[in-house]
């Protein structure tokens, strides 16, 4: 029987075949697994980031609306008894307003109600028990 040059080449290749060892296979699976873990981590981070931006923008619009409503309202000497009007919150968000009163004598703001013609209004927007935005403005009696 006479073999051609192609047959010799195939013989050579076949004899030198060792196949993949278990360690090589495990390494391959580990690398693929590592890649998948990175991909999943990227997706998760992206989703968290988008949700944070979403929360932030909605909270900012709520805080802004609340401050604008207080700015538009007439000055209330005692907002504890006669509160400023409140913005309608978006579902899942809580808007809270706290007032501090200026003390003309000391120049400081105090939570105790007094009427020296200036109030510091702080609006806090929270969702899921976490404060997202806190912003403050001043209300002047004029």
């Amino acid at each position: 029987m006479k073999y051609s040059s192609t047959d010799h080449l195939l013989q050579k290749i076949a004899r030198n075949e060792k196949g993949a060892t278990l360690v090589e296979e495990l390494m391959t699976v580990a690398i693929i697994g590592f890649g998948i873990v990175i991909l999943v981590a990227m997706i998760t981070t992206g989703v968290i980031g988008v949700r944070q931006v979403d929360d932030k923008v909605l909270a900012e619009s709520l805080a802004r609306s609340q401050l604008e409503m207080i700015k538009d309202a007439a000055y209330e000497a005692d907002p504890g008894a006669s509160p400023y009007s409140s913005v309608t919150p978006i579902s899942g968000y809580i808007v809270s307003v706290s007032i501090e009163y200026w003390n003309a004598g000391t120049g400081n703001f105090t939570p105790t109600q007094r009427n020296d013609g200036l109030q510091k209004v702080t609006v806090t927007v929270s969702t899921g028990g976490t404060n997202i935005v806190q912003t403050a403005a001043f209300k002047v009696d004029r």
Partner: protein, 170 residues
Amino acid sequence: MNMTGKPRDVFPHFNQERGTSIVEVLVAMSISLIVFGVIATSMVQFFLVTRWGNSQLQITNDIQVASLWLGRDALEASSFTAGTGNVYGILNWPDSSHQFRYSYDALDQALVREHIVDGLLQTTHTVARYILDQNDVSFSTSGSLLTVSITSTSGDEIKSVNIEFSMRAR
């Protein structure tokens, strides 16, 4: 391929090979299926989440940008004149020398702001880019309080907000 002999003659060492059992083949196929299943699921999730994130950022950006422009203009304006047709209305300075006209661009499905000085158009800005319908934006006033409602839509994602703006008293 030039094969002049029988495979057994060409590859004599094949006679000593055991080959793989059906159990080994099934296990290999199972592992391959699991690996490819996980990869395929990851890829599909990657594209779905990317598209969702993109839509979310687009509509969030719409509301943020529109809110900034409207807040800026309302701070300068003392009155709002409701418009007709595709014009929502005009925010006016006390002496009307400066006006900010808000209208709907049906072609681009966008909310457009125009700055007019002494009756002459100065600049045009697109302040929201994902407004599918003219009714998705509305302006209303109560005294000097301007309420703007914006609904932005991108893909399957929709976001609506009402934003209040206090116009200058004088």
